[in-house]
């Protein structure tokens, strides 16, 4: 178990950085602190998993860093851009051009074919897809013979592979996944996670994923643990066993404290 600080600013470039990030709901008596001065770096070409029990703030952290949600104080940077000062329109553009998303519930458009779903972010931007890159992504997720199908004609695993391809297709600076394997059986889940890891290893992408599954977390290069809106620990080179052990230990600690 390592205890080095999370924000290791000495190595490689940072894709996204949260500094003293706080998110507070409500006021006075009913005030709930979802994030309490969280600081974290997400380095380029790294696969990070965010873990923590329900209500720990792991999803909120991801939403804030991904520009999907507003925060109360602190700062978030994607590359050189400070999110706090952006208006909705600029934020939307940033998400479109710099960020890729994978959701738990696939979230494909049922009226579009698999290929159209994959190129949707580029279509929104009115850009042509980078043909070579697109081919590579499609081959990687193994969807070549399914491109003309609509989501309803695909299995859950295939749908999520389309979603992975969509997130990768525009070659974003960073990809966020919100429980991307939550709705999949273990085999399909393993496939999707494999693609995510490959995209980091082979394509040099940056991936941040929220999960509660130790097996999923084991695919990541690093795991960040959250509890009560704070980062409590992190782990490099996790395996399912080490993560599970940590969680158990953490749970026990949580119960006794």
């Amino acid at each position: 178990m390592t205890t080095t600080p999370v924000a290791d600013r000495s190595t490689s470039t940072v894709a996204a950085r949260a500094t003293d990030l706080s998110k507070i709901y409500g006021q006075g008596e009913t005030q709930v602190v979802a994030l309490d001065r969280v600081s974290a770096d997400f380095r380029q070409a790294e696969f990070t998993a965010i873990m923590g029990p329900s209500g720990s703030g792991k999803s909120t952290l991801m939403h804030c860093v991904a520009g999907l949600d507003t925060f109360s104080s602190g700062s978030v940077r994607i590359g050189d851009t400070e999110l706090g000062s952006l208006k909705d329109k600029q934020l939307t553009k940033l998400r479109r051009d710099k960020i890729g998303f994978i959701f738990q519930a696939f979230n494909l458009l049922p009226t579009l074919t698999a290929l159209e779903n994959i190129t949707l972010p580029m279509d929104i931007a009115g850009r042509k897809a980078d043909k070579q890159w697109l081919e590579r992504v499609i081959d990687m997720v193994g969807l070549r013979d399914r491109l003309g199908h609509r989501p309803a004609q695909l299995s859950g695993g295939q749908q999520q592979r389309v979603a992975v391809a969509r997130a990768l297709a525009s070659r974003p600076d960073i990809i966020f996944g919100d429980e991307p394997t939550g709705n999949l059986d273990s085999r399909s889940g393993a496939e999707v996670l494999g693609f995510l890891r490959n995209s980091v290893r082979e394509l040099g992408q940056t991936v941040v994923m929220v999960t509660h599954d130790p097996v999923a977390a084991a695919y990541a290069d690093r795991v960040v643990f959250l509890a009560d809106g704070r980062i409590v620990d992190h782990m490099y080179g996790p395996t399912a066993e080490t993560v599970l052990d940590f969680m158990k230990q953490f749970d026990a600690k949580g119960r006794t404290s």
Binding site: F101, F103, A105, N107, L120, P121
Partner: protein, 842 residues
Amino acid sequence: MFRTALRNVFAHKARLLMTVLAVMLGVAFVSGTLVFTNTISDAYQNSSAKGFDRVDVAVSAKSQEDEGNTISKTPELTQAMLDKSAKVPGAASAVGVVNGFTAIADKDGKLIGGGFQSQGGNYWGDKDARYPLKSGSAPHGANQVAIDAKTAERAGYKVGDKVRLSVNGPVLTPTISGIFTTDDGNVAAGGSLALYDTATAQKLFGKPGTYDEIDVKAASGTSQTALKAGLDNALGTKLVETTTGKKLADDQAEQISASMSGLKQGLLVFAGIALFVGTFIIANTFTMLVAQRTKELALLRAVGASRRQVTRSVLVEAFVVGVVAGVTGLVAGIGIGAGLRSLMNTLGATVPDGPLVITPGTVATALAVGVVITMLAAWLPGRRAAKIPPVAAMSSVHAKATTKSLVLRNTLGALFSAAGVATVLAATTMDGSDGQGPMGLGAVLLIIGVFILTPLLSRPLIAAAAPVLRIFGISGKLARQNSVRNPRRTAATASALMIGLTLITGMTVMAGSLQKSIDKMASSAIKADYVVSMANGNELSPDVDKKLNATGGVTSTSPLRNVYSRIDGTGESLTGVNGAAIAQLTDLKVDTGTFKVGGTHVVVDKDTAKSHGWKAGSAFTAHYEDGKSSRLKVSGVYEGNDLIQGILLDKNVVTPHMTDPGDMRVLVKTADGASATTKDKLEKALGTNPAIKVQSKQDLSDDIAKMFTLMLNMLYGLLAMAVIVAVLGVINTLAMSVFERSQEIGMLRAIGLDRKGIKRMVRLESLVISLFGGVLGIGLGVFFGWAAGELLGTKMATYELVLPWARMAVFLLLAATVGVLAALWPARRAARLNMLTAIKSE
């Protein structure tokens, strides 16, 4: 189950809002119509009943049947009869009534009122109980007149003023001796009444020494029936008939309600259309609510609710919606009824005062219409709800409707449409009135067929819009795909708009074509520069023709004089014309023979010739009202039209046989042709008579155009309700779509579609659906307009189809506007969705 249904209504308040509004509008239209017509009908009946208070028995001439070739004269009510009536036992007094037409000009020389309700009459003695004087005194002699207080007030006339009047020719300028009040129904309805002393009235109205009616008042203690019997006894029953005041009042009441029921039915038809359109929205809403509640309903089934209970829970929901819509609609309808009356008053069509009439029938109808319509429309969705298998509660997504049902639907729709088109086409080859029935049947079949087919039609038609939508990038693409995603819903929404636009376009095509053909007929048949006629369609005095003929610059004139005669034992109307000039004044197509009118030579139109079996060269005998006759020879057969038809003969042949000749029109040809100065000259020659219209061909065309425009505008106004309901439908559908697709919208926002793009997507979907309905409606409307025209064409030689391209473009624009307006709120809602909650919600 009842409680579940009620909870559901409250849970979906916002989504049911449009449904309630749609039903409410229809109900408001229905109850507004009922309240308005009942109120007006009651007011008229009250006012006319008051008018009969002073009459216990009315004596009138009995019209006599013509026999063979002799024309029977209508008996006259003489002074002797009046005197005799007054002396009948039980009679308190008898008043002789003289009626006629009198137009009153205001201070600018313009006719007061429309001309149709400009009445004249006699003031009986020095104090006529019928007409209490407000100021001044009774009229005496040819130079005095009394006018009603409403007219005096409108035109600003006072006792002592000179007023310009016209009866049937020369202008009179008597002095106002008195101003009276009256409860006469026509005056109450915006007409005018001028009264002269009895002798003057008899002279002016061409009835010297005679009366139109004798009103007898009973002495106290004598009943109306007893007095009637006494009068019958004294006057005999051969020449006159007697009617009790009560019967007169009853007859009038009946007549008023009969004329009101026509208006009522007309308005109710349009209310029905609005309601029909509303049913689409109701069905759409309930289908959607059921689909959204699939899991919930399946759960109910799983825990033991029967199919019937599930259906009933949906129907109970519909019942509650119907009651709410019925009650609010009734309230709105009462408002509309009251509003319409005051609107009519401000527009000058004076409606007698009276309380607003809300009968129990109106209330019951409003509620019944609201409830029945809503429940009927919700019945199918309710049945579908019952078919949800209990297992659907467990699976995440219930199996969607299969394409099989669409196959059945398309087959059915194609059959209906084909039958409809075939019937309409067959009807167009039939002759005039024979084709009306099949045409109507075919139209109904075709509309039903197209309704059923709209889901199928939506795909190719909306695909055709793809190139345009491509301009809008991804928003356009998504909008197009979203609009064909649920073809049934899109179809129902578009159909609602289609109905209104079908009717609007059909009417416009027909009206435009008819106007053109009538216009062509009128102007092509006449070579005269001017046509002179009475404003109210009455006959002109022969003096008018004489005066016009004597006016400088006039080269020739001809009256169109009405002559009643008997030919071969049947009644026939002849037209007396100036034989020497008629060929220069008209341009009638001659079928056979020559166009020669003069002496014993006459021309006959094709229809009349056919019915009598005449050809050029045939001869016949016409018997006149004075018992004399003349032998006439058909010199030619011509093609008649609306203005000139029947037997044309020289006026000099018939005028000597007539006691009171009158002309429908006078045709005038001038040396300089139609111009403002010529018209002015002609009007001056007639003493600038307020009741006489001098119209050039252009004026006639304008008149026809004005009539059609007025009619079309009224129809547009009435059909606007159906369009408004259709707009509610589009809003409803979009709101439902946005709600259903909130997860997708959230995802689109997350991956980078900005608010503007989302708004545009919803707006374009709305536009596509509306234009789809618009194109269908305009297409069907043109088809029906064409078909109806084909039928009319068999009766009108000059009929020609006129496609109002500009109007059609406006209608399409209207459909587009409907789309844009309907999308305002749903698009805003979609753009404001919180994307995190949208993505998470399943």
